[in-house]
Amino acid sequence: MIEVKDVYYTFPNGFEALKGVSMTIRDGEFIAIMGQNGAGKTTLVKHFNGLLKPSKGDVIVDGVTTRETSVAKLARNVGFVFQNPDHQLFCESVEEEIAFGLRNFGFEEALTKRRVEWALNLLDLVEYRRTSPFLLSGGERKRVALASVLAWDPKTVVLDEPTIGQDHQQKEKLRQFIVQLNSQGKTVVVVTHDIEFVAESNPRVVLMSGGKIVADGIAKEILTDEQVVARASIVPPQITQIFLQLADLGLPTNVIDVYDASSILREYMEAHLK
């Protein structure tokens, strides 16, 4: 469980990025943190593994305040996958890259081998095990970065902008993978701009704007509330936009899922066109 208690954060250059943020992340939750650029999303999640320490307030991870705990210790339980895989890949082979974190956390060699094998299989990277990460494509590098964090099996995984620069197929694969991780009991926190990506997975949504949380609830309610969404400078999912415009037909407006939408429309047509 991660508890954020009235956290303020000011950067050394004087910019106040967080202005009194409070939230609780329970074990096994799937949360999407959304909001425009500079809303403080990344600043907030960097508090979860102690990369940033609050200027005021407290962040408590599993009962321990992040103030007095090192990043290395917190990272064992809170894995963080950065936006750009090029900021972390440096080893000669994919295998080595995945083992790096495990060695830092002091895993035994035999266990490290097993975990690397597991992670290679999980992200479909077995054939690249001896390839240099620098020779892989963008999507593959992203998978290596993800594997290198999941390998040590952290309780919580934070993903910063996981969908940026990926084609639709890759994105859909990633989405299913994240949903699967979550259903296996991992707490997943995703920072993203990609509203369709969020709409399709229906997580808890935390909307941020100007260093504050402006809305917090299930995706279906948050993303279909025009006023709330506008305050965070987000456009509702396209399906929702259609239903908002069809409101005068007496159709529900809180629809974000394509399958829900088609069954609602089917029912409506069957009732009215006969």
Binding site: N49, V71, A75, F82, Q88, F90
Partner: protein, 262 residues
């Protein structure tokens, strides 16, 4: 990274910022030369104090102090080695003059850092590039120079992100003995170097697609022109140089301990 910010230009309009960068550079060279000419502590102290008004007029005290703090480690190293070696060299006789010469050598270093810090804090990279161009340095070199200066903060920020990313994978930079600590930086340096190379290739492509170097003779929207303040500074600078040379050749400069005994 805070050492960098002790040299990083921030836009402002003060009389010092508005001076011609060429003249400011001549001033730096003259201070450099004078600091090398003298080993007597009183002169170096005068050089150090003489630059302080510039710092205050330019309102860069905070950044300047940061650069001084950045230099303090090297300065103390210079002091200790000089004191130790001159102590050994004078066959283990400790005299106040040993102490004074060690301080003087440290002071010389501090004066040099001080003048460079002031120069870079008050001169925009663009002006610097202009100054180089108008001094008939080939444009390729000017461009390379300004680009390098321009990318220092970008790289510093990138290094910070990479450090965060590796710390999140359990890397502890401060762990282990001296050699181990140096090795700890490999996971930071490799992504940083790779991305710098990649960035430079991208920059080269972007430049070519914008027809870089298509015209041999370039014109500039802005031109540096000498103003009254610039001439005054130039004359002052030469006066300092002439005075320094005169004192060096014809006047005996007392040591600080000598001065204090009077």
């Amino acid at each position: 990274m805070s050492v960098f910010s002790g040299f990083q230009f921030r836009k402002a309009t003060t009389p010092i910022h508005n001076l011609d960068p060429r003249i400011k550079f001549i001033l730096v060279i003259v201070i450099f030369a004078v600091a090398i000419m003298f080993i007597e502590l009183p002169v170096l102290i005068v050089l150090f104090l003489g630059q302080l008004p510039i710092v205050f007029v330019a309102k860069v005290q905070r950044e300047w102090i940061r650069s001084m703090r950045g230099a303090s480690f090297l300065a103390s190293l210079i002091f200790v080695t000089n004191l130790a070696f001159s102590y050994i060299y004078s066959s283990y006789h400790f005299t106040p003059s040993l102490f004074e010469s060690a301080i003087a050598l440290t002071m010389r270093f501090i004066v040099l850092v001080e003048s460079f810090s002031i120069f870079f804090l008050t001169t925009s990279p663009d002006h610097l590039g202009l100054a180089l161009e108008q001094s008939h340095v080939p444009f390729e070199f000017c461009f390379a120079f300004t680009t390098a200066v321009r990318f220092v903060p970008v790289l510093a920020e990138e290094a910070q992100t990479i450090m965060d990313a590796q710390k999140a994978r359990g890397l502890e930079l401060e762990k282990g003995n001296f050699m181990r600590r140096i090795r700890n930086y490999i996971p930071i340096l490799i992504p940083l170097i790779v991305s710098a190379i990649r960035r430079s290739l991208e920059l080269a492509e972007a430049m070519e697609s914008r027809a870089w170097g298509a015209i041999k003779k370039r014109t500039n929207l802005y031109e540096l022109r000498m103003r009254k303040g610039d001439y005054v500074l130039l004359i002052l600078t030469f006066a300092v140089l002439v005075a320094a040379v005169y004192v060096r050749l014809y006047v005996h400069v007392p040591s600080l301990s000598g001065l204090l005994r009077l």
